[in-house]
């Protein structure tokens, strides 16, 4: 066993950390939250540093890193701007990873270098109004073949970064009567500027700069060449990306948890009551210990899942456990942070309330933690309960 990062990984962590300290100071992040706007002015710099193509080989403009490096970036970005971290994920995982795993050579050549250079962003259009947990049961968006084109009709919802993306990876039904529930879906690359694509922003509680939208698709025509991978096999193609997403969402929660913990510690050391800093009271120390324990557990289990995926080993259960543990930890840590900061924590000028709002998102996405437990239960040999 070896729990150390490599020299290169330590350097990466350090440079992301320093970059974020410089480029994402608290006032910038607060303004970003208030205005519901991503701090995208630093996106080109992230591309220059090689982070946007982190897990891609050099021939596609990537940096040749693994899932562990990808997670390091995710965690560090999320400590400062969880919203920017999610944007990193939608492009780096949904876009780059999906195309790299399943795309044709010409698709890879067309899109991956552009992703690495920061020229294009992606979103994943999967969830529909009829369901997210039972997404396959609810998926109605259809892509019909007409000549050399797909004609797409349907509606998607809760799509992160649709408002800033240049392309979506659309999951659409291409076979009305598949032999199995998981068949009959295809992944189709759709330019967000196509006629018939309309997006409508949704207002939400937390992680406000990471805008989620409804997408309406009305007679959208795209070339058949935009199919990614094999027709009807879209769900299978997507599984690796979805595991990757769970690992990165765990990283998202880790970043928030870390910031909430750090803010709580500094506040507790500065705040005096009954003649001494409140950090010296056992009741406060117990909160802080609990927060740190949860954080460390979440980190270990998340990096274990990333390690498995980096070696292309099965990681479905581990990435689900990581997301479950880390998201609950993030929420618990932020909640305890709110208790420690008390009245100040409830004020919008302090960041604790933002961590608290942002942490909740990981509890219910990409799947709810109830669904996570169903999946873990199934993996214990208990049968499918849903």
């Amino acid at each position: 066993m070896d729990f150390d990062f490599s020299e290169e990984q330590l350097m990466l962590q350090d440079s992301v950390r320093r970059f974020c300290e410089k480029e994402l100071p608290k006032d910038v992040v607060r303004k970003s939250d208030e205005n519901e706007e991503l701090p995208l002015s630093i996106w080109p710099k992230m591309a220059e540093l090689g982070w946007l193509g982190i897990a891609l080989p050099e021939e596609y403009g990537g940096t040749g890193g693994s899932i562990i490096e990808q997670l390091i970036i995710m965690e560090e970005l999320s400590r400062k701007s969880p919203a920017l971290a999610i944007c990193f994920m939608t492009t780096n995982s949904f876009g780059a990873r999906t195309i790299f795993n399943n795309g044709s050579e010409s698709q890879k050549k067309a899109f991956l270098p552009k992703i690495s250079r920061g020229e294009v962003k992606f979103c994943l259009a999967l969830t529909e109004p009829g369901g997210g947990t039972d997404v396959l049961g609810a998926l109605k968006t259809k892509a019909e073949t007409q000549g050399s084109e797909f004609v797409i009709n349907g509606q998607k919802t809760f799509i992160s970064d649709a408002s800033v993306a240049d392309y979506m990876i659309l999951v659409a039904r291409t076979d009305e009567n598949p032999a199995k529930k998981s068949k009959g879906f295809s992944l189709i690359l759709v330019d967000m500027n196509r006629d018939g694509v309309e997006i409508q922003k949704l207002n939400k509680l937390g992680i406000r700069p990471s805008v989620v939208s409804e997408i309406f698709l009305t007679d959208v025509h795209v070339p058949l060449d935009n199919l990614i991978g094999t027709r009807q096999e879209g769900w299978r193609h997507l599984l690796d990306t979805l595991n990757n997403e769970r690992i990165l969402v765990a990283g998202y929660a880790l970043g928030i948890g870390r910031s909430a913990f750090d803010d709580a510690v500094s506040y507790a050391k500065e705040r005096d009551a009954f003649g001494r800093p409140i950090s010296q009271f056992q009741a406060i120390q117990h909160y802080l210990s609990d927060m740190y324990v949860r954080l460390e557990l979440a980190r270990l289990i998340t990096y274990k899942a990333a390690w498995l995926q980096s070696l292309a080993k099965p990681c479905g259960v581990e990435s689900t456990m990581a997301k479950l543990v880390a998201s609950e930890a993030g929420l618990e840590i932020a909640t305890n942070g709110m208790r420690i900061l008390a009245g100040y924590g409830y004020m919008l000028e302090y960041d604790m309330q933002r961590y608290y709002r942002d942490a909740m998102q990981a509890v219910v996405t990409p799947i709810t933690n109830e669904m996570s437990k169903n999946y873990i239960g199934q993996s214990l040999g208990l049968g499918r309960s849903y």
């Binding site: 510690v265 210990s289 460390e296 557990l297 270990l300 479950l324």
Partner: protein, 381 residues
């Protein structure tokens, strides 16, 4: 990063798991009911080399690989956490106290039989007025020529009164400097005149463990029985305790895994409303939570062991692991009984024993409250 076990570690895991399944598991119900110490099991564990894990061969040990010790201890504890605790006390508290601070002769004389599993080690710190605050130790030792004369008493001491016990390392006040007690560690062989023990104490759980109060009345042992430095006994003890926190935690991890295993088995067999209760989401969620917490705790155990083996500071992580995993044990035992329903309340079911046995893991080797204070101190509070 690398989360995998070595070939040797996998082999030790297999050996321990097989022994636990074949030799420990079937024997426990009766031992528990009759409150009998598991002599046969402990002897066989010694023969297999399990009692010499984390000690070098020159002192009768099997391997110095600390992780191998934890892996084996977890497997034994999955069959029975109380046997796991007898192992943990002998190796971590008894053995390591001598291994870390004893001189060559002491190691040859006392550690070797412990590591070979011919004898069991024990450690006496707790007193009627000194538990969490070990500074309150009242047992004292004075030098009379070349002989320590020890007087005092100890409480709740594991492994101290068995037929296999070699003796107990006791802490005693040997000096007073600037009004403060200085404590030293002294080895007292079993059957030294004046050294007596209470009968095995009646406990909520841990029926087949040996737990006694010790009485020392003008006990005379040679000067050479001082372990480590005079006056440094408390500091030495804290070092040993950091190791013991990890290993007592490992027994709690085994207990939690046992609760999960038993609950999985039961839930798949038990039918209600026309299907196995394992098909119900509320039961699955309990099991998924147990499995997830156990996996997280195990990663923390591995990480802490890795810190130990690489000579890094591990005080915070040892406390974090012990605190967290003992709570995982509590939740697992509680939910396991709940899943078993009325059967879980019957003593013939292992989960009923686990429900009794887990509690002391939140207390021994430092209460959860103390662990949290240690963690906070390490965090700079």
């Amino acid at each position: 990063m690398d989360f995998s076990l070595t070939e040797e570690q996998r082999l030790i895991k297999q050996t321990a798991a097989k022994f636990a399944k074949n030799e420990v598991e079937p024997a426990i119900e009766q031992l528990y009911e009759e409150k009998r110490f598991p002599y046969e099991i402990m002897k066989k564990m010694g023969e297999l080399g399990l009692m010499g894990l984390s000690f070098p061969p020159e002192y009768g040990g099997t391997t110095t690989d600390f992780l191998s010790y934890l892996i084996a201890l977890e497997e034994i504890s999955i069959a029975d956490a109380v046997v796991g605790n007898i192992m943990h006390v002998s190796i971590s508290l008894g053995g390591h106290g001598i291994y870390m601070f004893g001189n060559e002769e002491q190691k040859k004389k006392w550690l070797t039989p412990i590591a070979k599993g011919e004898k069991l080690g024990s450690f006496g710190l707790t007193e009627p007025n000194a538990g969490t605050d070990a500074g309150g130790t009242q047992t004292h030792a004075v030098l009379d020529g070349d002989t320590w004369v020890i007087n005092g008493s100890k409480n709740f001491i594991s492994n101290a009164g068995t037929d296999m016990t070699i003796g107990t390392v006791v802490t005693a006040v040997t000096d007073v400097v600037d009004g403060k007690n200085r404590i030293s560690a002294i080895f007292v062989p079993k059957d030294t005149p004046g050294f007596t023990t209470s009968p095995n104490l009646n406990k909520l759980g841990w029926n087949h463990a040996d737990t006694r109060n010790l009485y020392l009345e003008d006990v005379r042992v040679p000067k050479e029985n001082l372990i480590g430095e005079r006056g440094k006994g408390l500091k030495q003890f804290l070092t040993v305790l950091n190791i013991a926190r990890i290993t007592v935690g490992t027994t709690a991890l085994g207990l939690a895994q046992q609760c999960l295993n038993e609950s999985l088995k039961y839930a798949k067999e038990r039918t209600q409303f026309g299907k196995p209760i394992s098909k119900f989401q509320l039961i699955q969620a309990k099991l998924a939570e147990m499995a997830t917490e156990i996996e997280a705790a195990r990663q923390l155990m591995y990480y802490t062991a890795w810190l130990v083996q690489n000579g890094r500071r591990f005080v915070k992580e040892a406390s974090m692991f012990k605190y967290f995993v003992s709570e995982v044990g509590r939740r697992a035992a509680n939910q396991a009984v709940q899943i078993h329903g009325g059967y879980g309340y019957m003593m013939e079911y292992p989960v009923a024993r686990a429900f009794r046995d887990y509690k002391v893991m939140e207390i021994g080797e430092g209460t959860s409250e103390i662990q949290k204070l240690v963690i906070a101190r390490e965090l700079g509070c």
